[in-house]
């Protein structure tokens, strides 16, 4: 990784000013739905979903260096859990979504133990494989999931509750990353990323910390998947277990700056707004253009926007960011 040299930052806000800025942004997020169209609210819902995906992925992969290609797997499990509980057991949507998160946490503990013994590309491929297993189970287990037909839910006419639920989830995800990044846990996760053997030798129980990060990172896509299922009212295996979900999550986090608190937030918002613009302007070519955009970004800014701003001295070097 590139090492940032000491520079005096041009944008160094005090803690008070930072808190005021964040409070202002939060007020905007809370008030926006009252003045926005249904399309904008739906777009905001999706942007917040990408913030949740990127931030939770960052907690594991950005901070420990264990790059996961399995985030879509947890998203899909959460989506199907919520959909099945709503459809078959008539659970309240918000409770069903939370149940999706709990199940993903349990899966995180179960899968994390053996998976985290692998490193580098082996870990990435193992998680990708497990995500595919989830998709195949959803296709094959027809009595429960209706297989390739997918699951239809009662249409959701109320956009605002979905939006605020996803906003709350995004705030929780970013808040958790912020809390961990500025704690001893965060330091130890970074140490694992830098040199896992040396981290063990200085007393870090690396397996325990990796498993903690893995489990926590699995909860949020689980809940987000449930909210997505409720919002769109229809899911099928190909939509919620798509590998492209994992790829876009990784690209969002890396575009903003993996291993930072706000990098994935910025990356998720900017990249997915760009994706929306490309989809509107080039409806037939947008997948190609979007893929090309991701490649260019990763070649030109491998450290992400946050690293670029810190290297140029615009933002201070701080674990708080």
């Amino acid at each position: 990784m590139s090492v940032v040299k000491l520079q005096k930052p041009r944008l160094a806000l005090s803690t008070r000013h930072s808190a005021l800025l964040l409070a202002g942004l939060l007020l905007v997020c809370l008030a926006l739905p009252f003045v926005a169209s249904a399309y904008v609210i739906s777009l905001l819902f999706l942007l917040l979903m990408w913030v949740v995906m990127a931030s939770s992925w960052n907690l594991l992969s950005g901070y420990t260096g264990y790059v996961s290609f399995g985030h879509a797997g947890f998203f899909g499990v959460g989506a199907y859990t919520a959909a099945i509980l709503i459809w078959r057991a008539q659970w309240e949507w918000w409770l069903a979504c939370l149940a999706g998160g709990v199940l993903c946490a349990a899966l995180g503990v179960l899968i994390g133990g053996p998976a985290l013994r692998l490193r580098g590309p082996y870990f990435a491929i193992a998680l990708l494989g497990l995500s595919e297993v989830g998709r195949i189970v959803a296709v094959v287990w027809e009595p429960l999931t209706r297989g390739g037909l997918g699951i239809s839910l009662p249409p959701d006419a109320e956009l605002l509750p979905d939006y605020y639920a996803m906003l709350a989830l995004a705030l929780a995800a970013v808040g958790l990353v912020y809390g961990i990044a500025n704690s001893k846990i965060g330091l130890r996760l970074l140490a694992i990323r830098e040199d896992e053997t040396a981290a063990e030798v200085v007393g870090v129980p690396t397996t325990r910390y990796k498993l903690l990060a893995f489990t926590l990172s699995a909860i949020f896509p689980g809940v987000a998947g449930g909210l997505y299922a409720w919002h769109v009212s229809y899911i099928d295996p190909g939509a919620v277990f798509a590998v492209s979900l994992s790829v876009r999550t990784i690209a969002s986090a890396m575009f903003g700056g993996a291993g930072t608190v706000f990098g994935p937030v910025i990356g998720a918002l900017l990249l997915n707004v760009l994706a929306e613009v490309l989809w509107v302007r080039f409806p037939f070519f947008h997948p190609v253009l979007f893929g090309g955009l991701i490649i260019v970004i990763l070649l030109v800014m491998p450290g992400g926007i946050m690293a670029l701003l810190q290297q140029r001295g615009i933002l201070p070097r701080s674990r708080r960011l």
Binding site: L187, A198, E200
Partner: protein
Amino acid sequence: MGTADAPILAVRGLTRRFGGVIAVDDCSFALTPHRIWGLIGPNGSGKTTLFNLLSGVLAPDAGQIVFKGHNVAGWPSHRITARGLGRTFQITRLFEGMTVLENMRVAARAADPARVAARADELIEFVGLRALRDEYAGNLSYGQQKLIEFMRVLMTEPELILLDEPFAGVNPVMENKLVELIHALLAQGKTFLITDHEMRLIMSLCERVLVLDYGHLIAEGPPAAIRADERVIEAYFGRRRGEPPSPQPSPTGRGSESRERDEPSAPLRGEERPARYSASPGEGVPPPLPLEEGGGEGGSRPSDAGGEG
């Protein structure tokens, strides 16, 4: 050893193989506490592998490592560190994308952040690197990294400290600082096991010296005895012409590392020495293991431009 102190570390029959190569071969020794122990041996003799076994980086294939009364062989490194064994690496392994202070904080055992910060500052100050407290560790000079790695080990509150070539690539000023630090810590009750190719320092610093060759312990004793020990001389310089080989254990495979020596490559066990080392008078027979600076092992030493930081 002849002291009443129970050993802080007792190694029995320790063995580690890498495929067909036996890197550590049935190694047994015991370290009494509150001493500075040296560990020497030619390149490829198994010193770093032994350190890796003691610190849990590698698990042994056989044998015991009894540290403070517990067999820690095969334990994960963090558990061994928690029991009070710390080590540095032959090539420094700081967390380069983290600041000096963050490197120290990672290793801290105390929970109270204020106490951790105070202790970290104290140690950074001790080595004169206070100005670099918030600098990324990757931006430090090699000598500064050596010092910070040593300080990071101290944050784990070890009782036994393994130093793997602490003087390699370090200038004389930094050497003195390290020696001063080791003596200060010894006075605080620490125990050291130091391996290095800087023989002058090892022989002057250490009270007892262990010698490894082909992964096997071939000698142990005070520096003066080690200097004159024929087996040690043979391990470093090979056998004199006309002399029979010293009794050796069964030949074992050599490590994948090549032996890097200043003199021509030493003969394998049982082979004749080259004529350069003839024992006939007047033919420039070297004195028994002078082990002076630059004599025999270690090769050239890169200068460290970091100074005292």
